[in-house]
C-alpha cells in the first residue's frame, strides 16, 4: 500500500490532468449530459409515477383508491355524468338506478406523495399514473385537481376481468338484516342480489316471514366495502377472503375460526 510520501509527480499532477483533459474533450466535442430542459426532455423510466389520470369509461366509482390513499389526498366527488358518458361507462347501466350520484376521484396534489397505491388497487385499471410531472403551481388551491380535470378518454378501454385486490369480501350477519336492499343499489359491480334467505323474522304484527337477504357473487366482488358503509343495520362486515365461505350467507362460528 502506498503511503502519502510515496506519491510521485505522476500521481500528483499528470494523471489527474489526463482525466480532466479527457472529460473536457469528450464533453466539448460530444454532447454534454445536461439537456436543455424546456426544449428537450429526458424520457422518464417505464415505471415512473407522475400525475394521475382516470379513464372514466372504466371507472366504476367504487372508492377503493380513496380508501387506500395513505395521505388521504384522494376523495371521491359526486359528478354529473352526461348521457354519453353514462352510456359508455362500464358497469354503468345500473348507476342510473342509484339514488345517489356517480362518484369519481379528485386529488389534492399538494398532499399526494405519488406512491401509486391508487393505481395498484384499482380493480378495473381505470386509475393510471402518467409521465407528466410539471405540476408546479402558483397557489395551493391550484394543486387541487377536480374530478373532471383528470378525465382521460381512450379509443377502446381494455375491459379486464375484475380482481379483488383488497383481499376482503363482505360477510352477512343475517340476524339484524332488515332486507332494505340498499347494498344492492349502491354496489358498483352489481354483485349483490336479494334472495330469500334462511332467516325467518317475526314482524310487529306477530307474523313470521322469510325476509329477503343479500346474496353476494364473490367472483365479481371487488371488496370495496361500499355495502358495509351504506348498511343501516350494521349487519355486514368485511373479512379476509380466506375466511369467508363461498356462499354469501353467514355460517355458525365463521368469525370464531378467524
Amino acid at each position: 500500500m502506498k503511503s502519502e510520501r510515496d506519491l510521485g509527480i505522476m500521481d500528483i499532477i499528470v494523471n489527474p490532468m489526463k482525466v480532466t483533459l479527457k472529460q473536457f474533450f469528450k464533453s466539448t466535442f460530444g454532447k454534454p449530459t445536461t439537456v436543455m430542459y424546456p426544449l428537450e426532455k429526458r424520457a422518464p423510466p417505464p415505471t415512473y409515477r407522475g400525475m394521475n389520470a382516470v379513464i372514466w369509461d372504466l371507472c366504476i366509482g367504487c372508492g377503493i383508491c380513496g380508501e387506500v390513499c395513505p395521505n388521504k389526498c384522494l376523495k371521491m366527488k359526486p359528478v354529473d355524468l352526461s348521457d354519453e358518458e353514462q352510456d359508455k361507462a362500464w358497469y354503468g347501466s345500473h348507476l342510473a338506478k342509484r339514488k345517489s350520484k356517480a362518484e369519481r376521484p379528485a386529488i389534492n396534489f399538494g398532499h399526494c406523495m405519488f406512491c401509486g397505491f391508487c393505481e395498484d388497487y384499482c380493480p378495473t385499471g381505470a386509475m393510471t399514473m402518467t409521465d407528466f410531472y410539471e405540476l408546479a403551481d402558483t397557489t395551493r388551491e391550484g394543486l387541487i385537481y377536480p374530478a373532471r380535470s383528470m378525465k382521460v378518454d381512450l379509443e377502446d378501454a381494455p375491459q379486464l376481468p375484475l380482481t379483488n385486490y383488497m383481499m376482503e369480501s363482505p360477510v352477512l350477519d343475517a340476524d339484524p338484516c332488515i332486507g332494505c336492499s340498499k347494498c344492492v343499489d349502491n354496489c358498483p359491480t352489481n354483485c349483490i342480489i336479494m334472495d330469500l334467505g334462511p332467516q325467518n323474522k317475526k314482524m310487529k304484527s306477530g307474523k313470521v316471514r322469510n325476509v329477503e337477504n343479500p346474496y353476494f357473487d364473490y367472483t365479481i366482488c371487488i371488496g370495496c366495502s361500499t355495502c358495509v358503509k351504506v348498511c343501516p343495520a350494521d349487519c355486514l362486515h368485511m373479512e379476509p377472503i380466506s375466511n369467508s365461505s363461498s356462499s354469501g350467507l353467514s355460517e355458525e362460528g365463521a368469525s370464531n375460526e378467524a
Partner: protein, 410 residues
Amino acid sequence: MSLFSFCKWMAEWTAQKMLIPIFEFQEGLFPPFTNPAGSIADWLGTDGGITTLAWLYAVNIAFAVGMTNLILVIHLERKIAARIQDRRGPMLSFRSFRELGEDLAGSAPSWKFKENYAGIGILQNLADGIKAIAKELIVPAKADKFLFTMGPIIFISSSVFLLVLFPLSDRFAASSAPAGLMVIMAAFSIAPIGVLTSGWASNNKYSMIGGMRSAAQLMSYEIPLLLSMAGVFLMAGSYDPVVIVEQQQASSWFFGIPIWNFIPQFIGFIVFMICILAEVERVPFDLPEAEAELVEGWTTEYSGIRYMFFLMAEYIRGFAGAAVATILFLGGWAGPWPIPPEIWFLTKVYLIIIFWIFIRWSVPRIRTDQILELGWKKLLPLSLINLLIVIFMVEIYPYFSEIVSLPEVF
C-alpha cells in the same frame, strides 16, 4: 506609433477642438468666477496639460482592455469548468436582448430558447455584476466598520493598479517605467494588507484564520518568487519588460530560433509558476478561502459589490500573474510576423490561464503545513540553484571563455 503618442495626439485634438472652446465660453459667461492665477483653458494649451490629458486617456484605455480581458477570463473559467463537469455552463448571450426588446416594445416575448438563450454566455458576467450591485451591503454588528470598508478598497485598488503596469507589447503600454517588473511585484505585495485587514475587521473566526493563512502564504512565497525572477533580471540586465523581451528574442542557440528564458532557466520557470499560483491564490494553493474548512475564508462576511470586488480582484491578479510569467519566461510579445505582437502576448497569457483552470479542476488542495514546507524547503533552495546556474552562465563562463578560449555556448 505607441499607445502614448496616440493618446497625446488624441489629447491635443480634444483640447484644441473641444475643451479649450468650452472653457473659454464658460469664462465669457461667468467672468467673476474665473481663476485669477490662470484659467483651465490656458493650462490645457500648455505641454503639461496635454500630457496630463494623454495620461488620462492611456490609463483609461489600458483599464478598458484589462477589464475586457477580465470578463473573458471569468467566462473562460466558467465554461471550461462546465465542460470538465459535463455541463453546458453559462448560456446567456447578447441574443437574449431580443426578448428584452420585444418586451419593451409591448409585444409578448416569443420564447425562443434555442435561438436566444443557447448562446456562448458572455452576458452572464454582466448579469452577475448587476446582481451584485443590486444586493445589500451587510456590515456585521461587531465588525470594525472602518477597516471592514477599507479592506476591499485596498485589495481592488492594488489589483486594478496592476492592469496599467504591464505592457501588452513594446508599443501598447500605458506605463513604461524602467523598473516595470519591480513595480508590478510591489503592487502584488500590497494585497496581503487588504486581506489581513478584512480578515481581522470581520470579527469572525473563519475570516481571521483565512486572513492569517493568506498572509503567511503570500509572505513565504514572495521570497522564492523574487529569487526566481532575479535570474531573468540578471540575464537581461534590466527590470524593464521591453528589454527583457528583446533579450529573449535576441538570444539564439541553434538555427536562429529564439530561445526564451524557460529553456535555460527551466528550474526557475517551474518555481516561478508554482509561486505565482500561490501568489494569486488559485487551486491548489487556495487555502485562505478553502470552502470545505473555512466558509469562504476572509471573504465570509462580505456581500454584494464588496464580495464581487474580491472575486474580480482575484481574477485581475491571475491575469496579471500570467502576464508577468509570459514577459519573464515565455518571450512576451515575441512571435512570427503576420500576427500582431499584442495578439501573441494575449495568446500566451490565455494559454497559461487555461493551464491554471485545468490545474484547478484536477488537483486537490494542499494542507497548511505542506504549503509552508513546499515553500521553504523545496522552492527556496531550487530558486537559489537556478540563480547559481544563471550566474555561471552570465558571469563565470564568459569570463573563463575569454581566458582559455572555450566555445561560445551561452
